[in-house]
Structures are given as structure tokens and as C-alpha cells.
């Protein structure tokens, strides 16, 4: 991918994922609402402001003990550590996607270094789809959790704190219904 592709708004970026079948098409993509991530994002931004942008704070903190060279080193070190932390958490959030394709529902979940959980279920195995909304944050920002109940030993999938829950629930229900109908006709 070129940098010009990244900047052009009109270009169609076809999303793909690991293990995608040739005849598989992504119909819906959803992820946790960013509001949930504010619990780490806001403190980090505050730390950014006080330790890096506001030059007086760090000087007051360690300026009496260390000289300017050490204060500059500490500022650079804190800047790098906070930046790396933000990149880590942001990519974990960004790549933890829930995909609805014409064949299955896939839930990618990443938390921390090397911790990953990938759950998928076939559209034909879906028994019921439930939307649950509870808690103050969910109420204010319209976030809901979708519980996908599957038949037999297939794993149930929970799509947590998503903003477009109604659309996704409708999409999964329609897909499940049409797939089961086609199966019956065959």
C-alpha cells in the first residue's frame, strides 16, 4: 500500500483477514466503542501534558536534584515510553474486531502482549442473537453487547460494547435465517 493510497479518501479499501476463504465477503465490521478505552487514554494524555508539554512540572519534580541534561533525558524517556504504551493499547483496540461475513462470525480479541483470542462460528450454527445494554456508560453512549448463542459444542460469541449493535444484530439474524432457509430447500 502506498502513502498516497492512505491519504486518498475515495479509494476503496477492501478489508481482508487471516483465514478468509476466496468466496467469503465481509459484510459487517465492528469493534468496542472508543469510550471504553478512555480509562487508559485520558490519564495517558494528562501525563503527556504534565511531563512533556508543560516544561515547569518536570523541573519542579526533579530539577532540584538533577541538572538540565538529566531532565531532558527523563523527558525524552517518558515521551517514548508513553508513546509506545499508546501505540500498544491503540493497536490492541483497533485490531480487536468482530467480523460478520456471509459464512461466519469471527471475533478477534487482543489484550496485552501476545494475548490473543480468536473465536468463530458458522452462520448455520447460530441459534439466537440477543442484545444487552446495561450500565451508565452504555446508556449514555449507546453501547450494547450482542450475545450470539450457537448450537451444540460451538462456542458462543459475545460482541462487547459496540455502538452499531442493532445493525449487526439485524445483519446476523437475516444471514442466519436466509442460510437456514436455503439449507432446508436443498
Amino acid at each position: 500500500m502506498k502513502l498516497s493510497d492512505l491519504l486518498s479518501k475515495n479509494k476503496d479499501f477492501s478489508k481482508t483477514f487471516l483465514g478468509q476463504n476466496p468466496d467469503e465477503e465481509i459484510l459487517g465490521v465492528t469493534r468496542r466503542g472508543f469510550v471504553i478505552e478512555l480509562k487508559w487514554f485520558l490519564p495517558t494524555i494528562i501525563a503527556y501534558y504534565f511531563l512533556i508539554i508543560d516544561s515547569n512540572f518536570l523541573n519542579l519534580l526533579i530539577g532540584n536534584i538533577f541538572n538540565d541534561a538529566y531532565v531532558s533525558f527523563t523527558r525524552m524517556l517518558v515521551f517514548l515510553i508513553l508513546s509506545i504504551f499508546i501505540i500498544n493499547r491503540l493497536t490492541d483496540w483497533f485490531y480487536s474486531v468482530n467480523l460478520v461475513t456471509n459464512q461466519r462470525v469471527v471475533d478477534f480479541e487482543f489484550s496485552g502482549l501476545g494475548v490473543k483470542k480468536i473465536v468463530e462460528t458458522d452462520i448455520r450454527n447460530i441459534q439466537s442473537v440477543t442484545i444487552e445494554s446495561s450500565g451508565f456508560l452504555s446508556f449514555i453512549f449507546g453501547l450494547s453487547t450482542i450475545h450470539i448463542l450457537t448450537s451444540g459444542d460451538n462456542p458462543n460469541i459475545d460482541l462487547e460494547f459496540i455502538s452499531n449493535a442493532n445493525q449487526i444484530q439485524d445483519l446476523i439474524s437475516d444471514l442466519s435465517r436466509s442460510t437456514n432457509k436455503n439449507e432446508r430447500i436443498k
Partner: protein, 72 residues
């Protein structure tokens, strides 16, 4: 003992601390770069290149920090 005391100056200990801290940061940034590249194998997106560039820049920054920390 006197020779040892000559070495253990404030600047020398400070330099050792700086090297240890910046080496830790470099290691942390490399691990995160590896993690970002690993995550991108699961899902393709237009932001892949942006995350790659950002994590690569942190590695470069940490390397520069490590190199400058050798200077007293």
C-alpha cells in the same frame, strides 16, 4: 578503594542508569513493533501503514536515546 571511588562519581552512575533505562525502552519498542506487525496479519486495514510507521519511529527514537546516553 580510592580508585573505585574515583570511578563511582555521580555522572558515572547517572550514565549507567541512563543506559539501562534507554536499553529497556529500546527493548520495549522492539517488542511492540513485533506485536503490531503480528496483529496486522489478522486484519488488513488502511491504518496498517500508519501504525507500522509510528512503532518504527519509537524504535528509532529509543535507539537515538540509547546512543546519546553513552555521552556523559
Amino acid at each position: 578503594m580510592n580508585e573505585l571511588n574515583n570511578y563511582l562519581t555521580f555522572e558515572f552512575i547517572g550514565m549507567i542508569f541512563k543506559i539501562i533505562l534507554s536499553a529497556f525502552t529500546l527493548l520495549y519498542s522492539i517488542v511492540i513493533l513485533r506485536d503490531v506487525l503480528d496483529l496486522q496479519t489478522f486484519y488488513e486495514s488502511r491504518f496498517n501503514i500508519l501504525f507500522k510507521i509510528l512503532s518504527f519511529l519509537t524504535v528509532i527514537g529509543s535507539l537515538i536515546l540509547l546512543l546519546t546516553s553513552f555521552n556523559n
